[in-house]
Subunit: 929 residues, 2 copies
Amino acid sequence: MLVLTKEKTMNKDCYYFGAPQADGDSSMNSLLGGKGANLAEMTNLGIPVPPGFTLTTEVCLRYTQEAKLPDNVKAQVEQALARMEKEVGRNFGKPSAPLLVSVRSGARASMPGMMDTILNLGLNEEIVQALAKETNNPHFAYDAYRRFIAMYSDVVLGVSKEHFEKELDELRREVAKRKGLALEKLNPEELKQAVPDNALSAEDLKELVKRSLAIVEQKLQKPFPTDPKEQLWGAIGAVFESWNNDRAIAYRRMNQIPDEWGTACNVQAMVFGNLSDDSATGVCFTRDPRTGEREFFGEWLPNAQGEDVVAGTRTPFNVTKKAGGDDALEVKMSECYEELVRIYQLLEKHYRDMLDIEFTIQRGKLYLLQCRVGGRSGRASVRLAVEMVHEGLISKQEAVLRVPPHKLDELLHPAVNPDAPKTLLAKGLPAGPGAACGHMAFSADEAARMAGEGKSVILVRRETSPEDIHGMKASNGILTARGGMTSHAAVVARVIGKCCIVGCSAMDIDYAKKTATISIYAKDGHVEKTVVLKEGDEVTLSVDDKGGAVYLGKVPMTNAQTGAHFEELMQWADTFRRMRIRTNADKASEAKVAMDFGAEGIGLCRTEHMFFEEDRVPLMREMIVADTQAEREVALAKLLPLQRADFVALFKQMAGLPVTIRLLDPPLHEFLPTDEAQFAALAKATGLTVADLKRRSDERHEQNPMLGHRGVRLAITYPEIYAMQVRAILEAACGVQKEGKGKVVPEIMIPLAATVQELEICKKIVEKIAAEVFAEQGVKLDYLYGTMIELPRAALCADSLAKEAEFFSFGTNDLTQTGWGLSRDDAGRFLPAYEASGIVKKDPFQTLDTEGVGALVEMACLKGRKTRPGMKLGVCGEHGGDPASIFFFDGIGLDYVSCSPFRVPIARLSAAQATLKSAGKQRSGSSEV
Amino acid sequence: MLVLTKEKTMNKDCYYFGAPQADGDSSMNSLLGGKGANLAEMTNLGIPVPPGFTLTTEVCLRYTQEAKLPDNVKAQVEQALARMEKEVGRNFGKPSAPLLVSVRSGARASMPGMMDTILNLGLNEEIVQALAKETNNPHFAYDAYRRFIAMYSDVVLGVSKEHFEKELDELRREVAKRKGLALEKLNPEELKQAVPDNALSAEDLKELVKRSLAIVEQKLQKPFPTDPKEQLWGAIGAVFESWNNDRAIAYRRMNQIPDEWGTACNVQAMVFGNLSDDSATGVCFTRDPRTGEREFFGEWLPNAQGEDVVAGTRTPFNVTKKAGGDDALEVKMSECYEELVRIYQLLEKHYRDMLDIEFTIQRGKLYLLQCRVGGRSGRASVRLAVEMVHEGLISKQEAVLRVPPHKLDELLHPAVNPDAPKTLLAKGLPAGPGAACGHMAFSADEAARMAGEGKSVILVRRETSPEDIHGMKASNGILTARGGMTSHAAVVARVIGKCCIVGCSAMDIDYAKKTATISIYAKDGHVEKTVVLKEGDEVTLSVDDKGGAVYLGKVPMTNAQTGAHFEELMQWADTFRRMRIRTNADKASEAKVAMDFGAEGIGLCRTEHMFFEEDRVPLMREMIVADTQAEREVALAKLLPLQRADFVALFKQMAGLPVTIRLLDPPLHEFLPTDEAQFAALAKATGLTVADLKRRSDERHEQNPMLGHRGVRLAITYPEIYAMQVRAILEAACGVQKEGKGKVVPEIMIPLAATVQELEICKKIVEKIAAEVFAEQGVKLDYLYGTMIELPRAALCADSLAKEAEFFSFGTNDLTQTGWGLSRDDAGRFLPAYEASGIVKKDPFQTLDTEGVGALVEMACLKGRKTRPGMKLGVCGEHGGDPASIFFFDGIGLDYVSCSPFRVPIARLSAAQATLKSAGKQRSGSSEV
């Protein structure tokens, strides 16, 4: 493929599109860019497209290297130009029937507004006069000329467009004065309204051209180029150079577009929608991009240029009569409309997708200027895909592959109405999707109280802790000043399905005063102003794939709604995917939500979350401050029936589906009292003094709790804790099974193991308790014993760990933390700088770092299955719900991914796409370059 | 080999030693155990050894599996027994000339006192009477019998020896009463002194035998076995079972002896040193095991049993006239002595090593009962090895291989006199080797003040911080209550060569009261008593390979002393080793110490240590609290000349040897003020308020600083810091080079990189500064640019990192922390439990975990050199000074190891041994089982 394109390059840098046939077609996207390839394709379909030619992306790369247009390119351009002249019967750079051209960039991927464009190229004093005469429209001709001068000067010559805008304002002021308007009362915006562009006479525009040329000459100490060829070379060069301007580079970084792609450059004969009243311009979608409904949808303006439709200086009309009434193109220019309908239907059938098309009507003749696959909402994306299957346009496989999984979020959560007016207060990390609106509460108790009064609440905290869970549940949304995408607030919010923004660092919270002070920054990084919000004030949180935003007050919202198209698509997805989808759920209620979304088991039940409940924390604390094993066992005995009841509910809910239960993982100090009241309560419960408890609590402090006394390490020092948990699990399982509620196969999982010896020791505990419970209960049931793989050493020694573990579940959150030496709680200080400078393409806590952490996961899979062929492998980190990561997991052969309940549909779709893509890859071999 | 031994087993479970030739020899250590193999070897050398036979270690393993003596073994034993009887002309189990035997364990590695032994086996009422008659010594006969009954009952029958001791005490009491002694005034110890064993008459012993037999019968409800054959099978079984007793298992765990080795069982004809006045027993070393001097060294007792020499109930005499005067064996039994000298010389020549031998003289005839390579001090080990080369006994290679590298510590550091009386207060981790004595100071300032008064000081802290360095330097030793082997105190102490004990958790420090309260624990874990020490109290710290101990008061010490033997050995080592040895040193003074010890460069200069100096910390703080880059640069400009001067001194000291300089690594908050005075000073320096500074300081707090904003991450957010450091390095290097002090090749090292992009960005900084400095200075010099590999991801992506890095230095401390998810500061809570339960064989921060972390290092080496063949690879973690780790590093092809100055000789020797052993392995192929 690479060789092939090289060969092409040798022969051909310039691809013509026009009669009788274009040189290229839509398959040559990477060489001609999206725009160029589609112009060629439309030409070949016989659709009226102004002729032109495309300089390939490889010319761009050579231009970048050589810092000039390669030698042999100019001759090819001259040739193509001559062909254009012949085809349209006009002459470039000549006053008789002058040919004007547009010069536009067009890369392989759409990069809207990032690179440069020049219109109306080919004008000078002589030609503009001829054009005025030919069109009998001097206003049009000079307007075109002054726009060209401004655009060209700005893009090619480096004379900022501000100078020309200032001059235009000055001219407006003169015209207004002439009209007797009170100038001093008009601000610039009002001035523009009072004297719009079309209120300027041809003479005014001629004067503006004069002044603009003078500006250029004064700035550059040489005149504006009058030779159209010179203009063309300059414009082509500028387009290629714009591939490497700062905003294009930044955009590529954000969207992971390789620098090596380069942009193509399209030179095309100009057609004008602003030439006359029977001229027009417009933009359409072949179906409704918001809903996906099969309804032609577009806007147009008579006697206008394309930019007028987009810029919003004039309000465009709808194209269809149904939507636009008497102003519709369908009514005003019915023949052109019919032609447009014929063309869009042809294109949609040809491209087998919803398209976004741009057209211009010049003196009653319709031209297509662009066509591409149209952007769409998540909801539209689902509906389009499903309906196109029903229409026989695409296959079910294609439908499943067409919907970007993360876009399902829109259907699963409410969203702020994009059109509603809103005041942005601050941005933060998009931790829990959706939107939420409510009154601010600064403590969990207050949030619960307010919710009890029937208010909708947003819980606002510096960061949340397990103590806050009741408040989080009572709230509509959660907002924290600190923390990252896998902080406590973020993880819990996703599990309980709340909208959540974390790491909103512009916000400073004063718990005593119950205020949140939000700093609003100017572009130079200084605080421009501060907004102080107090308890009860209303805010709206919005989290989508662009990020998390906090708005002032109540912003109108759209509701979550899945619907029939969604259900149908998901069913197709299920038939294609290889991997199972489980959920991370700690309670029967969470498990129910996940099962409704199609979860096929629980991949991670975090038992510690059961301990954070209000009635259990005190017992946990008693256990933790106990001095001896005997004292600990007393406290554990009180926890046993509570935990057993949880498991009974969970096993009943899951009705025979697999349930992986992770034994206690967090460091014990997470459970310790955080305020005086809690210390006092604990003192009462234990009979110890508060001072003594504080000392014991201090003793548990750790420098790096993430790397401390937690996970299986707790079981090595306090085996009685795991013993109690295993008993609770197995007693519950036996009970449920005896009730005849189906076969229960608990999967008991050890966290944070680094060595097989830890697994040996814990297995002995499990086997001992199992023997006891089975004897007591008179039942024997199967269970699996396995481990998390969440430390690099565990992955490296997976062959050894697999001797004891019957399954592995990859804890990719912690594996990322340890693999990178990166605390998810602290990374907020520098990870933004890492993303900005392109060191990391994506937050490694959101999308798996396949090169590093992924290599560990893959290694562990191979080593584990070498010891224990066919062993069950899954992932239960946050990455289990991330589409890109799911592709990777499918590729290395995991049996399942497990994610928070609301990500289950996304995981189902991603898994299906992964299976389909890898099948496609196998079919097509390794042809990809 | 395995097959071969199996075959042997099929044929032979029992190896006879005795006339005319033993079945085995000393090469059959693994089959016959050390004791059995050497008995066979001595027999073959014609040395008088009482005959006997050895049941192999494989019988032990089969015994363990089958829980009984394998069928075909008994017949072989009977056969061997018959041969013994014939050889000594006595009869086992018969009253006429009865043969008594000993039954002893003997494993491949010495496990002193861990397993069971039975002496005098083959006695019953009939035989003891015959023996009394034959020897005409009823006291001897009944003493032997009562000892046998007690030993056999305890070991084989499970009747505790305490019962018999109690009975003996009772008998003593009766005898004392008979003698008219005032019993009630005697405690048990005094009773033993008043009525020693030989004060008991034959009749007394006869009575004791009677009572002992009654005890057994009462306990077991059946009589003591009177059939000598039955006794023999019982004893052999008990010896094999003792391989799996708790203390043997614990010992094997501690000493990394595989369970699969098993023990052999030796049955040997008894000879008696307590039969008469011309009988005797003794233990000798062929040279002095304390100094290594070539001087026969031993102790003996006439008319005594072997255990009497060891037990200390009677004070033994020296064997040589030179040492023992008139009591010497040389004087008292000169013929036997001469024979002994002939034998030890023969043995030393034969074994080519210093030996430990046990002998018994029975009625004037000398027998050798044991010979093995003798234990020795570190100093002796060096001297012996060197002198044996000079004597032509061994090669230089053998000499180098014979000295355990960690034993060099004895020569490099002072040590407490092992014979001095001392009161142990507490134990801790052996962080910095040697011994130190001084007055306690609880703050660095106080330590410095006391040292200024000429006192020797021990700095006592909960843990140390960079603020304490001046106090650490002023002190003789450092003692902390917290922290692990790589905590701040431990690392700094090793660098500055101070004796240091960390993690002394029994100690509770009250800074306000200036006291240290030490809890002394009883065996059941309860606090038995507490000792309160106050400022100025004297303590002694002792750190050796057994651990760290704190003693009360001033304990006499021996000085550090290397000497000529050491120098000679080290020179030989240097000729053999492949790897280079560098040192971790931050200052010219430390580098000097290391060079004197033979360091060949600096592998790690931690630039942050330069910032902790008193004159620099304030400037660092100014930099850290700065709000803008411009403000930071002002503070950095003040640091530049100070840091440059440090590098000038370092480069001059190293005189052209390579110097690897790590740019700033620790999180900035480590430099922030810790007390009010420091805040006030900083407020004055910066013009900010204390409140503001505290807020800025709080903002820098991290949950997991180990995984936080540090290392290269600082350079991504504040590139100006590294820019200043690079400038300081290169300006210093240019300056020194211009002075003609030799070619300086600095190696600039980036810490904590996880991605090649980080290295790209920093390389740009380095190259820019280098170009500037070279232009300014008019010199151009070579430098290397490289990175630490201290994160799993860096190791996994080493091929990619090697694109930018010209060298790798493995930071195995952090690699262990992240690979295991184990904070070195927090591991103290559970790592002891991990070692106790055998999960980790050795603290992974002391000895590299080759299976996990080592796999990462090896992977990174392979990947790095794949990208950049021959790239320089080294290690600068604490493991660089650990012998076992050095073997591993040699095996995977590192170019050098770097360690703290005082470990340099140990590293040199270890590296030489590694080279020699791997050469040996290559020669011998893969014959090892």
